[in-house]
């Protein structure tokens, strides 16, 4: 039997979450005594997945699947699972994987657990640890159905190299016109910039910045760090920054290595959304701001003085460590 892992790619290149998903699949397969089969759709170099533990890659090459389509992609994964007799399926926690997860669960009549942050707690029964209550807690969840789908949280299990001999085979899937009842007409995506979903570093700012005209230094700091920019809920509600940047309980979740909060007091809803980040830094004029209780490092000071200094010092640091 094999553990099936769906590996996402963008314009032929695998996303980082694909490598993390394969690393996770390898761990699950080890525990179950199974092998790992990856499903890739229109990817250019499938053999790279062997580095992370895939024994086999089923590669779908199909022009109709050039753009992501949740139903058609879910169908491809379901067909691969059936052809491999795979009862355990691993997906990522990207917007696309979450979009297709419910469709896939219904097609395979499978129990699905998203936001999983660690290797299985046990395999018989299968119990996984996931975030719950919007990162305010964790649940150990048992999957009781015969077919199981695990959604791995970004940046949680990590990318682990194994170097496995990999076989790549072509896999043809049925594409139904009906699946295109919801059709992509335009994608408006930031290119050449880290996104909140997969950035190692996220620089986030709040109302302490006083107005949208002051975001230049936040963007510059993000540039220096190769970071994605984010903002607090009030800032997006005020229209200072786009909704897509809002992080927190009702916005996007953040699970970066480094999260820098500037002029954000740290309401419980905001802290919930960012708590999965490994190292948190807060810069705020108010030493009583709740964020200081949640952060690893803090600077009590005015963002307009601290941030320009931080940019200069980081530039020096980057020059020395280049």
């Amino acid at each position: 039997m094999s553990v099936l892992v769906y590996t996402e790619s963008d314009k032929g290149n695998f996303k980082k979450n694909a490598f993390e998903a394969v690393s996770y699949a390898y761990e699950v397969a080890q525990q179950l005594g199974d092998t790992v089969t990856a499903l890739a759709i229109n990817a250019s170099d499938c053999s790279v997945l062997g580095q992370y533990g895939a024994n086999k890659v089923k590669h779908v090459s199909n022009e109709q699947l050039t753009n992501f389509n949740a139903k058609a992609y879910a169908n491809a994964i379901a067909e691969a699972a059936i052809s491999e007799n795979a009862k355990t399926i691993i997906i990522s926690s990207s917007a696309d994987s979450k979009f297709l997860s419910g469709i896939l669960a219904a097609k395979l009549n499978a129990g699905y657990v998203p936001n999983v942050v660690a290797a299985p707690v046990s395999t018989s029964p299968l119990v996984v640890k996931r975030t719950a209550f919007s990162n305010k807690g964790f649940a150990h969840t048992e999957i009781t159905s015969e077919t199981r789908i695990i959604g791995v949280s970004n940046n949680s299990f990590g990318v682990v190299e194994h170097g496995v001999q990999v076989d790549v085979e072509d896999f043809a899937v049925q594409v139904n016109d009906k699946d295109f009842g919801a059709k992509s007409v335009e994608v408006d995506k930031v290119v050449g910039k880290a996104t909140i979903a997969d950035a190692d570093v996220v620089v986030s700012a709040g109302r302490g910045l006083k107005g949208p005209e002051n975001w230049g230094m936040i963007e510059e700091l993000a540039d220096v760090l190769g970071a994605a920019t984010a903002c607090s809920k009030p800032v997006s509600d005020l229209g200072w920054r786009p909704h897509g940047e809002h992080v927190g309980q009702t916005g996007k979740p953040v699970a970066s290595n480094l999260y820098i909060a500037i002029g954000i007091s740290g309401a419980i809803q905001h802290l919930a959304g960012v708590s999965a980040s490994k190292t948190k830094v807060v810069i705020n004029t108010d030493p009583e701001a709740p964020f200081f209780k949640a952060a690893d490092y803090g600077v009590v000071g005015d963002a307009f003085e601290v941030v320009p200094q931080l940019i200069e010092k980081l530039k020096e640091f980057k020059a020395q460590n280049a």
């Binding site: 919801a182 408006d188 931080l310």
Partner: protein
């Protein structure tokens, strides 16, 4: 146009989360329950369709009698009728099956659910409903326009937005953006009075298996105190981030 808005009854966003019975149950003691925020954005958009395009809006939830204040609030905001499926919402698949059963019999053109509930964060309910009922589906939806049976939806993707052309019947996984925070409505006295007279149908659950079970909960590990760095000594912050946290 007939719209069904699926509503989850969740702890208020400001709630502190605690567990009880040996960390096997969520402690509801002192917790205020509200309409799941992702569902409320959808409900408010549905109100817009009602007022501008003459839509009929029903709301449905899966839960015991204790969830009725939450669905009454949806009626007070302006929904026409409510349905409570009388069962414990054990897992996402179970809830989706219950809602799909109700939706199948209701002849809805548009079903709006939140992209996820803020308590168990399963995020599977709209996708399962769409698949069980063979309807079009758009998740993480931040904008929705409908003309006749044609729909234009915008969904949030990692790093941007995608515009999608689709048609009714349609299932939406909604979130903030469908309407703005400032568009959300607080029920007024007239709405509350009218809600008392509106139909709240209680239906029994259909047979469906549970696929997953939370066997234990835990709270995040307590954090050590913050290390404060003087605003005039940013070099120290960089050194800590590099050498201690290994974050840069």
């Amino acid at each position: 146009m007939k719209i069904l808005v699926c509503i989850s009854n969740v702890p208020d966003t400001t709630s502190k989360i605690n567990f009880t019975e040996g960390d096997t149950k969520f402690d509801t003691n002192g917790v205020q329950f509200v309409i799941n925020p992702n569902d409320e954005f959808g409900l408010t958009r549905a109100m817009w369709f009602k007022e501008k395009q003459g839509a009929t809006v029903h709301v449905a939830t899966v839960g015991g009698a204790q969830t009725e204040p939450t669905i009454r609030k949806a009626l007070a905001i302006g929904a026409d009728e409510a349905i409570r499926i009388n069962a414990e919402p054990t897992d996402g698949f179970f809830v989706a099956r219950q809602l799909a059963e109700v939706a199948k019999n209701g002849g809805y053109d548009l079903i709006i659910a939140g992209r996820e509930s803020i308590d168990y964060n399963g995020g599977m309910v709209p996708g399962i409903i769409a698949t069980l009922l063979d309807m079009n589906f758009v998740n993480t939806c931040v904008s929705l326009e409908i003309e006749g049976t044609d729909a234009k939806a915008v969904r949030e993707i990692d790093g941007g937005n995608e515009t999608i052309a689709t048609s009714l019947p349609l299932v939406i996984g909604g979130q903030k953006g469908l309407v703005e925070e400032s568009d959300l409505r607080i029920p007024n006295m007239r709405g509350i009075m009218m809600a008392r007279k509106k139909a709240l149908h209680v239906v029994e659950a259909t047979d469906a298996p549970t696929m997953t079970a939370d066997v234990k909960f835990e709270k995040p590990a307590a954090k050590g105190p913050v290390k404060l760095v003087d605003a005039g000594n940013i070099d120290e912050l960089i050194s800590l981030l590099h050498n201690e946290a290994k974050a840069i």
